[in-house]
């Protein structure tokens, strides 16, 4: 208790909540999930090294015919898409685009670095949502 460090709780708590803060948490979370997925992916694809039967067995296990696998595959699309879209936004900002220039801090403060790219943030998230809606249709409504 002495330190009062927030730990994981600090990813969503503390300070005034702005949307970028939640995207930060999601970006870290999806990053970890992608690393986990990558290891599973390599294991599954690597089964080909043990012969055709192993490969076909693995494909039967994780093929899209299985509704549970299909759900997780869709989740993977969500995770990849969010990480990619948000990553593009972060790279733009980190290379100095979209974030504005230093200004004299005259009240009310401009807070340019987060206010200026915010429309872009919403546009990207809406585009991602539209894409995910199409993907959901593709995954669940159409026959495999």
């Amino acid at each position: 208790m002495k330190d009062r460090r927030l730990g994981i709780r600090g990813w969503i708590y503390g300070g005034k909540h702005n949307p970028e803060r939640f995207l930060y948490t999601l970006h870290r979370l999806t990053g970890v999930l992608l690393v986990l997925y990558l290891s599973v992916h390599i294991l599954v694809v690597g089964s080909r090294a043990f012969g055709q039967e192993a490969w076909e067995g693995a494909m039967r296990l994780v093929g899209l015919g299985n509704p549970v696998v299909r759900f997780f595959e869709y989740l993977l699309v969500v995770v990849v898409l969010f990480h990619a879209v948000n990553g593009a936004r972060l790279i733009l900002g980190e290379l100095g685009f979209t974030i504005g220039r230093p200004r004299r801090p005259i009240y009310p403060y401009p807070k340019e670095s987060i206010r200026k790219p915010r429309p872009l943030l919403w546009i990207l998230m809406i585009l991602a949502a539209v894409y995910l809606a199409f993907a959901a249709y593709n995954f669940f409504a159409l026959p495999a």
């Binding site: 702005n18 803060r21 900002g93 670095s113």
Partner: protein, 288 residues
Amino acid sequence: MSARKKDPNTYIFKVFRYQPGKDEKPRFQTYEVPLLHPGMTVLEGLIYIKENLDPTLAVRYSCRMAVCGSCALYVNGKGILACHTALREFPSGKLTVEPMPNYPVVKDLMTRMDEFFDHHRQVKPYLLRPQDRAEIENPTREFLQLPEQLEEFLQFSYCIKCGLCVSACPTVATDPDFLGPQALMTVARYNRDSRDGGTVYRLKVVDAPHGLWNCHFAGACTEVCPKGVDPALAIQYTKRESVLHALHLNKLPRFRKKLAPVAPPPKPNRRPGIPPAPERTVPEAPAS
């Protein structure tokens, strides 16, 4: 605690109380503070508690006008300067006052800032000019700087080191060794200064584990900053600079930094051709 306060001129302070080494764990103590004048601040409320209700309350403050950065704390989960926030900003009349998170507590609302200033010192927060060390050690004249060059970093030099950005940063919450928004912002403040030539030295410190790239632009530092410094902007500029250096693009004329020159020595004589002053028309006033 009552659901609504009865008197509109009374504010209920729920204050975090904790003395490490003495108390087992923190507790909250409730005080009722009257609104003494319309512009009364949270800090004035805390001083009222200290003077009239409970002298054992520990709160750090100095200037009372948002210049020194001593009284940063959290009210209702939001980081503020206590001296810079009016009680009337809380229409519910209830204030939960806590010390800044992510810092060790000295007592009650006071937090230990050692680590914060340690990180600040690590990024060399002063003008570096290895190119002409003699001038820095024995200055002869000032450096020449244009107003546009001043605007490049002026916003970042308004930092009062209150530490609110570090308390709000989600990366600091899970990584104690992360330099923090304040130190990373200071890098941009000096690297963007045309009088400074130490960009490479500072990038060496921050372009490392627990440095620059642990920031994922959550923007919490900018949102919470009570002086409008915009640390997130400064950090993104430092990232851009780091990328330019890694790709050696900083040698291109477009990105190359031109060091501000030392001002030339003053000319001994006035401009030639100026006529002498005319004769006096009124007698000189006697020396008093």
